[in-house]
């Protein structure tokens, strides 16, 4: 998964990567050259007593070292650049993909999870790639180069490598193989412990109210013990790793001195080669260890890559049309024809057999109990979801054939959760219409009954709004969201239970003002309060995802049992009559 992800996104950087490999190659070879030069110093300088040779070779060694650092820094430069660019590209790919998603996919992953995937997971992958470029690339070069240099020093002695390298490789990979699931387990259990704590903190009132302290204590103790157990198991393996590797490395050097000594004594090898050989042995074994540590880092990045890939591989259930229609009469006529909506695999559809027409200048209200599918119905119009059956038409065109901008331009939605973006009051109001003048903003605020409190806010239109709009009250948020839709001046207004946080007086004043403002637009209101919708031209009663009645308040009161129940639940019989 990781490889596939990296390969796909590294393609544009092939040249940089070649350069990195080249620089790492030179850098590594330069490093590897030093022990050979040192051997020369010993054999030709020390043993022969030639001081001049020692100085000359020493000078040459410094030159090699300078070359080495130059290349190493170059490799870091291009490595950091490419890894960061890769991170940037993957992040952008994920972001773009999520932007294409419909509300359904966003709901499936959950916004927090998508955020983690776009930010943290990408960062993990980026970190791994960076380490690969700066350190890992040189490991195989170091290994192969080290072996070549060792062979160059003495071929028969290099036969030792045939034993040492496999032994180290096998032992290390055995440990690593056992370690990988353990590390994954450690991470999972840390997550579990943290999740339990998170739930305990978030749910503290409920836990205390339901006297579940003891149960929670046990739940935590269980999770904590699990974490301890697996950490100890992972720790044991870890403690074995380093001493074992060091033992192999050290015993190998003992073996090299012994067999080397025999060969030197037989005049088949020079003494300097022994010292050089020891150095090469270290390099080879170090590179194997480096590779191993890298392998241990893989699982975490692998998980992240999988999570990223999962997003990238998810197709939006709402796809833009192949040949988009971008001209629309723009009257604002809205029609739902035999619409059905069902989550894949669900026992019952959320909406079924929904047919209705909403015309310009009319207010259509949708009322029904929680879970009756009201919000889903509204979401079908701007294609937050696509109907799984039937069609949704705007001005006679199937919404699925319209260009997204064209469709968006005719719709003004006020969502159930009135989300505001960080910025100012003005920047939020202009969200749907960047060219609106201050006067237009004030006008919209007035209609939304928000003028007074905005005027009182420090800075007025320029008053700052925190992310999500958390620095204004729920009712204020709702009114700002309504004003935001008004500034857009769309043909179709969709209000999704947008008046619930308002007191009755404000609600009434707002609706009166709104009626004047939207008299030529198509208005669809989803609401729970009867008082909010009783003046509507048409009231659609939803129950369990089906339309059980359509008509005016009076008609429905006379002939619709469900509607009467709703009304009576809110008003006493007398009041309703």
């Amino acid at each position: 998964m990781l490889v596939r992800l990296a390969r796909a996104h590294l393609r544009p950087y092939r040249r940089s990567i070649s350069l990195i490999v080249l620089l790492q190659l030179i850098q590594t070879l330069a490093t590897l050259y030093l022990p050979t030069l040192n051997a020369d110093i010993i054999d030709n300088g020390v043993v022969a007593g030639d001081t001049g040779y020692i100085f000359r070779t020493g000078g040459f060694m410094i030159a090699v070292t300078v070359l080495q650092i130059a290349c190493a820094i170059g490799a870091v430069y291009f490595g950091a650049r490419t890894a960061m660019a890769l991170g940037r590209d993957i992040r952008a790919a994920v972001f773009d993909r999520v932007q294409l998603f419909s509300a359904r996919e966003v709901g499936r992953f959950g916004a927090p999870s998508l955020i983690t995937r776009t930010t943290n997971d990408v960062q993990q992958v980026q970190m791994l790639v960076l380490m690969t470029f700066t350190m890992m690339v040189s490991a195989p070069i170091m290994c192969v180069g080290g072996i070549a240099m060792a062979l160059n020093q003495d071929v028969p002695l290099s036969a030792l490598l045939l034993v040492i390298v496999p032994v180290l490789g096998i032992l290390v990979s055995l440990i690593v193989r056992r370690m990988r699931p353990l590390f994954r387990g450690v991470q999972e259990r840390i997550d579990t412990v943290n999740r339990v704590l998170r739930e305990q903190i978030a749910g503290i009132r409920v836990i205390r109210a339901f006297v579940r302290d003891r149960y929670e204590r046990e739940r935590f103790a269980g999770a904590n013990t699990d974490l301890y157990d697996i950490s100890i198991r992972a720790g044991r393996l870890m403690s074995m790793m380093f001493p074992l590797v060091m033992l192999i490395v050290n015993l190998s050097s003992v073996a090299v001195v012994w067999f080397g000594g025999l060969r030197i004594d037989a005049k088949e090898m020079e003494i300097g080669a022994l010292t050089a050989f020891l150095s090469y042995l270290m390099y080879i074994l170090m590179s194997i260890m480096m590779a191993t540590f890298m392998v241990m880092m893989l699982p975490r990045a692998e998980v992240c890559a999988e999570r990223i890939q999962e997003v990238l591989a998810t197709e939006s259930s709402v796809t833009p049309p192949a040949a988009p229609v971008s001209t629309l009469r723009r009257h604002g006529e809205l029609e739902l024809r035999d619409v059905e909506f069902r989550f894949p695999g669900a026992e019952q559809p959320v909406l079924k057999d929904i047919s209705l027409i909403a015309r310009p200048g009319e207010t259509t209200a949708v009322i029904g109990s929680t879970g009756s599918g009201k919000s889903t119905l509204l979401g079908l119009v701007p294609r937050l979801f696509d109907a799984t059956g039937g069609t949704v038409l705007v001005d006679g065109e199937d919404v699925r054939t319209l260009a997204p901008e064209t469709l968006a331009a005719v719709i003004g939605l006020v969502p159930q959760k009135p989300y505001l973006f960080s910025g100012t009051v003005a920047s939020n109001l202009r969200y749907g219409n960047p060219d609106a003048t201050d006067d237009e903003l004030w006008h919209a605020l007035e209609t939304a009954q928000a003028r007074d409190f905005v005027a009182r806010m420090e800075g007025g239109l320029d008053a700052s709004i925190a992310q999500g709009g958390t620095n204004v009250s729920g009712g204020q948020r709702q009114r700002l969201a309504i004003a935001r839709a008004l500034v857009r001046k769309p043909e179709i207004y969709l209000f999704d239970d947008s008046f619930s946080a308002l007191d009755y007086a404000t609600d009434a004043a707002l609706r009166a003002a709104l009626a004047r403002e939207t008299d030529r637009a198509t208005v669809v209101i989803v609401a729970q309060r009867v008082s909010t919708i009783r003046g509507a031209d048409r009231i659609v009663v939803l129950d369990e995802g089906r339309i059980v009645g359509t008509g005016t308040h009076g008609e429905l009161m006379a002939g619709n049992e469900t509607y009467r129940e709703i009304v009576l639940s809110q008003l006493t019989e007398q009041e309703a009559a």
Binding site: A72, V98, T134, T275, F293, T370, Y419, Q528
Partner: protein
């Protein structure tokens, strides 16, 4: 990579926090906590105090720590001695080479004189300084003995090292286990006021991220710092023992590397700050765009959102690149200095060997030592940052552990003989803020089975009343009596066991819907009972529209069910718990009134024989309450039934008129 980078070249990277920060990232699927981490270390850090306290946390492991230290010293000592002894073997071989060119039978001194006579003064010095035995063969008996000895040394060092690391792991894990336990127990003892005052994310971050960080720090430093320091001392000693001149040469590079590392580190620091700043900005934008996803779509703002993303993404790229590049230079720079060191040692050592002042084996050992020397040095340097951040985390955890706790329950708590649900408030006073009286001298008496509705404007103290009844907060004066017993004398557990509650904030835990409904019920409650409760509270219908029905897993954010649906689930939960007293705090505000009526029908059944407290803004929901309390500014200004209160034409009538006047006129 948790413990992965304990040793070896993988640790040689830049010591800056960002390299380790991603490890501390939130759990996969976790909330958007990312931005809380990797923050700057608090300036007011009491390093000494908190560090000491962190060490004190390990006190129960004193015995193990002592053993680990001893083993560590042994292991390091043997490791340090190794190369020197191995050098002896090389010397013997060298002696063999030199010796084989000399006629057998001569003594070393005779051979040296012979060489001088031939004008080979340099070689003569060399021979004189070595255990040369002139003759054709190397003394492999001696070489073998030396090598065997070295092998034993190495085996011993590894065995000690292994046992030491194992013990260290145990010490760290046990310490962290205990700290986690302490934190969790502390959370249970903290009064609710603590959670109300602190930001949840803050508390959470201390309980999770900070503890994780402490674990990482201890794990990576505990055995390492000791081993590194010992190695530095040991290696330094060996180097001076072999040759003080070479040792000085090698030491010259130490200050150089320290200076280079700190200089580069200092330059990298602002780049990292920049990197974290841009990361924060970008993440905030992503968070907003994902959370407001449908708005972006509906308002057709994808292009602008994407453009801003691209801009910030590019900014992060260039900041990240600079930070990584500058910090990435440290390692090659260190390697460069190491190589310079190598060259110096090779040259100076070569000269010394040639002049007979040093043996070739010693030079070989010296080269090994100088490599061993630089590694622990960089390790200790990189650990300084780690320790700093670990102690900062420890301090934050200690702050949590030091927070004031709620009064413990009485040792022998009182129990009402039979709980019928008779509740009385007798002269109760309470204030959240010492200087702001909220509830003053409130009295109220409720008969078993009565439904009490509490209404009034926000801040009137409605929720406070419930908080006091549940003993989430303790009364300041007066008392609350449940069936003749002061609740302050009961255990909290006993008291709350009799009360079922549905709260404003709908809390569901990460489990299935069925598990969430069964939360308050005794263990082993059957699925049938769960479904029954779900039907009674209208949860059943929407559960069946979900792909996995009752087994639908509610994720932490509860993204797959709506607010109203969540509230229904919490109602089902209270329903199934069958308590003597029910508390509904704004419980139905997100449920439409029709569903609410259905629930109330179900609740009416549940309420028979149970005392209920209902807090609601919507007067429509409480019309048939036995007793309506109208609260204003912490005191009850009116009480009675709907009818009596309306005819009294007081506060209730005004509230009622405000809500219904318009509806009534329209209806008329």
């Amino acid at each position: 990579m948790t413990t992965a980078d304990k040793q070896g070249p993988a640790t040689d990277r830049a010591p800056e926090a960002p390299a380790s920060a991603p490890r501390r990232g939130p759990a996969p699927g976790g909330g958007p906590m990312a931005r809380m981490m990797g923050g700057p270390i608090d300036k007011s850090l009491n390093f000494k105090g908190s560090g000491k306290r962190l060490l004190a946390q390990m006190r129960p492991e004193r015995g193990l720590i002592t053993v680990a230290l001893l083993l560590g010293v042994l292991s390091v000592a043997l490791t340090v001695v190794g190369p020197k002894v191995l050098g002896r073997a090389t010397d013997l071989i060298m002696a063999g080479i030199v010796g084989r060119d000399l006629p057998a039978g001569l003594t070393k001194e005779q051979a040296a004189d012979l060489l001088r006579a031939h004008g080979q003064g340099g070689l003569a010095d060399l021979v004189a300084s070595m255990p040369v035995a002139p003759g054709p063969h190397t003394d492999f008996g001696a070489v073998g003995m030396v090598l065997l000895f070295v092998a034993l040394i190495y085996v011993g060092s590894s065995v000690f090292g292994f046992v030491q690391a194992r013990i260290a792991t145990r010490v760290v894990q046990r310490t962290v286990f205990r700290m986690r336990e302490q934190v969790e127990e502390k959370l249970a003892r903290l009064p609710l006021s603590y959670f109300d005052k602190q930001q949840r994310g803050e508390v959470l971050s201390r309980a999770t991220n900070d503890i994780d960080n402490i674990q990482q720090t201890l794990q990576q430093t505990l055995s390492q710092i000791v081993a590194s320091l010992l190695t530095i001392v040991g290696v330094l000693g060996m180097m001076f023992w072999i040759s003080w001149l070479l040792a000085l040469v090698a030491l010259v590079t130490v200050p150089v590397s320290v200076v280079v590392a700190t200089k580069v580190g200092k330059r990298a620091q602002p780049q990292f700050v920049q990197q974290w700043k841009t990361t924060g900005k970008l993440n905030a934008h992503i968070e907003e765009m994902y959370t407001g996803h449908s708005l972006v779509k509906v308002f057709g703002r994808e292009k602008e959102s994407a453009a801003l993303f691209r801009e910030q993404n590019d900014a992060l790229y260039s900041a990240g690149f600079k930070a990584q590049f500058i910090s990435g230079i440290i390692q090659p720079a260190m390697m460069f200095i190491g190589n310079l060191n190598y060259v110096l040692v090779a040259v100076v050592g070569g000269l010394r060997v040639a002049s007979g002042a040093l043996s070739i084996g010693d030079v070989q050992a010296f080269i090994q030592y100088s490599r061993q020397f630089s590694q622990p040095l960089t390790q200790v340097a990189s650990m300084a940052n780690l320790v700093q951040s670990g102690v900062a985390s420890a301090e934050r955890v200690f702050e949590l552990l030091d927070a004031a706790e709620q009064h413990p329950d009485a040792e022998r708590p009182a129990r009402p003989e039979q709980v019928t649900g008779r509740v009385a408030f007798e002269g109760v006073s309470f204030r959240y803020d010492e200087n702001k009286p909220l509830i003053e001298d409130l009295s109220l008496s409720v008969r078993p089975g009565q439904t009490v509705a509490i209404v009034g404007p926000t801040g009137a103290g409605k929720t406070t009343l419930v908080n006091l009844l549940m003993r989430f907060y303790e009364v300041r004066d007066g008392r609350i009596v449940l069936d003749g017993v002061d609740i302050a004398e009961m255990s909290r557990e006993e008291l709350r066991g009799h009360i079922g509650m549905v709260l404003q904030d709908t809390w569901l835990f990460g489990g299935t819907i069925a598990e969430n409904i069964a939360y308050g019920a005794p263990e082993g409650t059957s699925r049938d009972k769960v479904v029954e409760a779900a039907r009674a509270t209208h949860v059943d219908r929407f559960v069946r529209t979900l792909p996995d029905g009752y087994d639908t897993v509610i994720d932490e954010e509860g993204a797959n069910v709506s607010v109203g649906e969540k509230q229904l689930i919490t109602i089902a939960r209270a329903f199934l718990a069958e308590p003597a007293i029910l508390v509904l705090d704004e419980a139905t505000s997100s449920v439409d009134t029709r569903t609410e009526v259905l629930i109330q029908h179900a609740m009416a059944q549940l309420r028979s024989g149970r005392t209920s407290f209902v807090i609601a803004h919507r007067l429509s929901t409480i019309r048939d309450a036995d007793l309506i309390l109208v609260m204003e500014n912490g005191s009850i200004v009116e009480q009675g039934t709907h009818g009596t209160l309306l005819s009294a034409d007081g506060a209730y009538a005004r509230l009622y008129a405000a809500q219904f006047a318009e509806a009534v006129t329209e209806a008329g």
